[in-house]
Symmetry: D3
Subunit: 244 residues, 6 copies
């Protein structure tokens, strides 16, 4: 299979994004694993602040290594600097994913640009580089997932070259339009053509796990229950569901 089709050619079911809001990244990881996908977790990236959940299609920014002549401080004065363009063109509801080659020794963005993205309706940010003024970024409502705070300007290490092309981020492939989900365990990238299926399968799994957790807290053993190899587990689950 060649590169996936552009995102806008694969429509999503109307409730897919909403369903994924109720799915944890660990559930999504398990469902993707079941379908043969072992590498959709963005390694080395965590939320700057707790609590936030993030769901949205990927809009990407590709950085290569900076070079002294292409990356003076005046580069930001270019009206078409790709980092600025990305911030101003990322569609509402999308997640901006930045490929920094897993190099967080410099920032990929700071709180001012991220505030602009929040105002514009961005659903979140994922970067395998650093974030400067990370405290300001963490205070946003829009979730920001990054490798770590990093004070140096992105020009120090990162030269923005492309917008909305396939990239790597934290060792995962990210195609524009893939569905990006984040929670306190980090970020999963769902290949767009699987998003509907994953969304449909996730909620029953979350539900069963809520039941399992209750059983476990009540003293039930894991074996036979999780996964439910003992039919009695499923019977109790049906009763539990009925009782909700």
């Amino acid at each position: 299979m060649p590169n996936p089709k552009p995102a806008d050619q694969i429509p999503l079911a109307p409730d897919t994004l909403e369903r994924l809001r109720g799915a944890s990244t660990s559930t999504i990881a398990t469902l993707l694993y079941k379908k043969g996908f072992r590498n959709c977790y963005v390694q080395g990236v965590l939320p700057l602040s707790g609590g936030a959940r993030m769901v949205g299609p990927a809009f990407t920014l590709r950085y290569i290594v900076a070079r002294e002549d292409t990356d003076p401080l005046t580069a930001f004065r270019e009206p078409d600097h790709p980092q600025r363009i990305a911030i101003e063109t990322c569609p509402e509801g999308s997640v901006l994913v930045m490929d920094c080659r897993q190099d967080a020794t410099a920032a990929s963005a700071g709180s001012i640009l991220l505030t602009r993205l929040e105002v514009r309706g961005g659903a979140g940010v994922v970067t395998d580089g650093g974030i400067r003024d990370a405290e300001g970024a963490a205070a946003l409502t829009m979730p920001v997932y990054a490798a770590k705070p990093s004070a140096p300007t992105n020009l120090t290490k990162h030269h923005a070259v492309d917008i909305d092309v396939p990239v790597s981020c934290g060792g995962a492939a990210v195609y524009p339009g893939d569905i990006v989900v984040g929670d306190s365990d980090g970020v999963m990238v769902i290949p767009r053509h699987l998003a509907d299926e994953i969304a449909a399968e996730a909620l029953p799994m979350e539900d069963y796990e809520a039941f399992v957790l209750e059983e476990v807290r009540a003293g039930r053993a894991i074996i036979g229950l999780y996964p439910p190899t003992d039919p009695a587990s499923l019977d109790r689950y049906e009763a539990w569901k009925a009782g909700k």
Copy 2:
């Protein structure tokens, strides 16, 4: 000396575990250093939530690298899957130590299994791999020490092979029955045959350091006091103890 004797052949003094509850990992590290042990700290592992102290004998689970045929999602349906068995057989009061080859790109366990271990009386968990649903794990009363949150299921990278054998964890050797102690600085592994001695030596050292801290806060200089090369330091300490 060959591999240490099985844990149950070396009895502990009755108050050793209780004493170690009052000992910090940095004190234990210093006492082990004094005896010639330079490598008993589990590198790269911190508590998922603050505050918790952990003490207990090690019960181990060994993972090797996963392989596509041995680690399908259905592996968890095996009634003798070693990870599940470990959770269900770890003795009450023991600490489950998982050897993930310092690879945290996937989880080694998640909050459901850890809840089960807590219910069964586990004293804590140490893993040099990741933990999924780390937020749920952090909310347990039982302390969990891990490299980081990690959404992918353990099957992605880790194949459970052995229970209660000698393992490496975070670059430290861990033999079943070794005494594992954790606090906010991380985790120390005390070779079981040294646990009584370390426990006996730790409390006086903690006590002297409490005195030193008071002196330092009152303006006393370090040299002569810490360590007490000036006999006057010891005199003041005796007075301080008497005055408590």
Copy 3:
């Protein structure tokens, strides 16, 4: 240019340190970048506790790798042990910078020594090694920037050899007297001969960014505003300043 002149031969403007207290590390990084300095950020080091800002001239301690004969526990009994001497001689208002060769598998100091430094008036601590009793260190008023908590005593890996010589810390060069600034994004090292200039340039930049953030929150786009390539941006800024 050979090694920079000793710190006391380059006087600072009277308000430089005070001005730098109002400058973020990301602003300082940008200003240094503009002058051609790409490598003044201490990589891999964050504050042990949030909120604290740190400014002061560097006072350095150099560690090399420990060796079994030079680093027994009794080494601390030497009245001239360089780590102890550093704690007792670091000038009031200075920042103690420790070069641990980016090895945090052992501590470089613990809370007792850091308390002593705080009592003596130290402005802060930066280490690319670990800190033991990191919880105690984090509770100090004096900010502590470190790679991570680490229980093993410094003797395990680090042998203190020199005080107040040029060192590397977190991949940045640090000369005695350089001005060290820390905030939640980490630590920047300002070459001393540039500190007055950076301090003078930082506040207008912070001020403009405060204006930009307000504009962005109000819905203004980035391009033309940040940097102010559109003259109207500067006009609004002047009005904003006048209105404060």
Copy 4:
């Protein structure tokens, strides 16, 4: 699927090992990839000397981290030291695979022990640790694949604990009896139950690649030829084979 069956329960076809002697590791990697195996290459390990090919079932030695009390120099005087036992019991024709946790800062064996293994009929050695007297080891007829030369004795870092158990080596799972193949590109581990199939598929693939190389040298383009999506490629191949 649980842990694979012990090696001696899965017989190999009589000519499997011989066939694999004619298969390159890159061909084997491709064939395993086709069957869904992505992780059977021993990362970070190359032959100490050029030219040698290696084929044989795995016989494993597991090391954990050394500890000062379990690994004095006198440990080698124990008649049952697992490293010595491994050298003396590795079956003729087998490959000794040592799991050193990818730590080559110390040796896992030296030329004297490896000479003994060669005399005993060992088919080769693979270690993700170091080799001491690597020059002597490289001069053996028996191939030795290692991370690098390393002078320190294995006791410095590696404590031998187990023989012939499943291990990890260079990030690959190795079960006793798996077929280990090495050439100048490094080492592949073939799950034993696939060895017959891989051996059968490898030679036609090697043969086709020999034809392709001739065609390419003669000026033929890759597309349509490699893989043979153009039927004419297969026709020429048949003619080439007939003409050999």
Copy 5:
């Protein structure tokens, strides 16, 4: 400055490539350093075989991380697979530079494709990934610079996405048309707009260093000679040149 102009818009002086054939990478590194370029060395890449020198404009291939659905073995059957297209379209005299994100756990190409590139007139290959059948690749006349041999097919880790776009390789920025020079010290990337200048400056520097080496072998001290701060050094050099 935005991204450099396409390569064919900046003509080279007619003898630039030829002159660079006589320039070592260390000379080029020094000349670029003098112009303010500190990051044009491809880190972690050495020639597979000794002796070869390489000069040519860069033609690039960009890989991202592979994914199970986009990278089955049948991907090579696509007539427009970018890796195959790159091999078949790289201009004669150009150097194929592959961006593998510094991940050499799989190959980026093998000897068959590289042979095809050699037949087509390629000037060389640079990859920060691995090379399979590295022995075959090393036997080519065309120089191949790589991180290391690696048996797994590129599909295992690398998905080819783009041809002739700006990339990173070994931590250096590479724009199509940049001049790539390799020798036994590795590979330097000369920004195309500087190639004429570097070529013109390199030969006098090489010449002076040949003179210095003769002087040093004859017992002359370095200081005053290298660099020639003593005018007598330049006088002797003039005489040496005249005498050649």
Copy 6:
């Protein structure tokens, strides 16, 4: 124990250096291990060319991280640049040991300076950084041990600050005057006060290992022979010695 005494205060026995010329680094590593020294191997450093053995007291050069203002290309014009001074003052018969913080992304010296050191009688060079014109350096008679070839000038990453002070090199402590021994397995650093003992103990051990190797080649098993726990092994050894 504080820092070791200056080298010239600890005389060596007259034949110590000569004896060490017959000792392999693996033998020295074992003898140091026996005395409790686990960390005297210079990690990550191998000879640029095969065959050479190196013995001599350490003369050290300390580099810190370079900074743009202290390290312009004109820095080499300073008559007191420490790298140049080190080359011109390293005593005849000494080994120049350079501390590059294990960073080989730039060179620490090149073939011209190393040729000068050879002419001056240097016994060898050890660096945990890179070497430029490594081919030229490898062609010297004087052995050069380095991390790898690296084209960038040392100014790119390394600022020379000190001569003949204690340093770290490849993770080992090196004090001026320590005895440095290199062979194809790399480099060991013998604390100077132990050099006579190690030299005296090494030759009998080398001799016994020569006997063992002969026995092993003749079919003798390892256990009882190496180490000689079977008295018959020692008897045969005595006979072997007598027969030489």
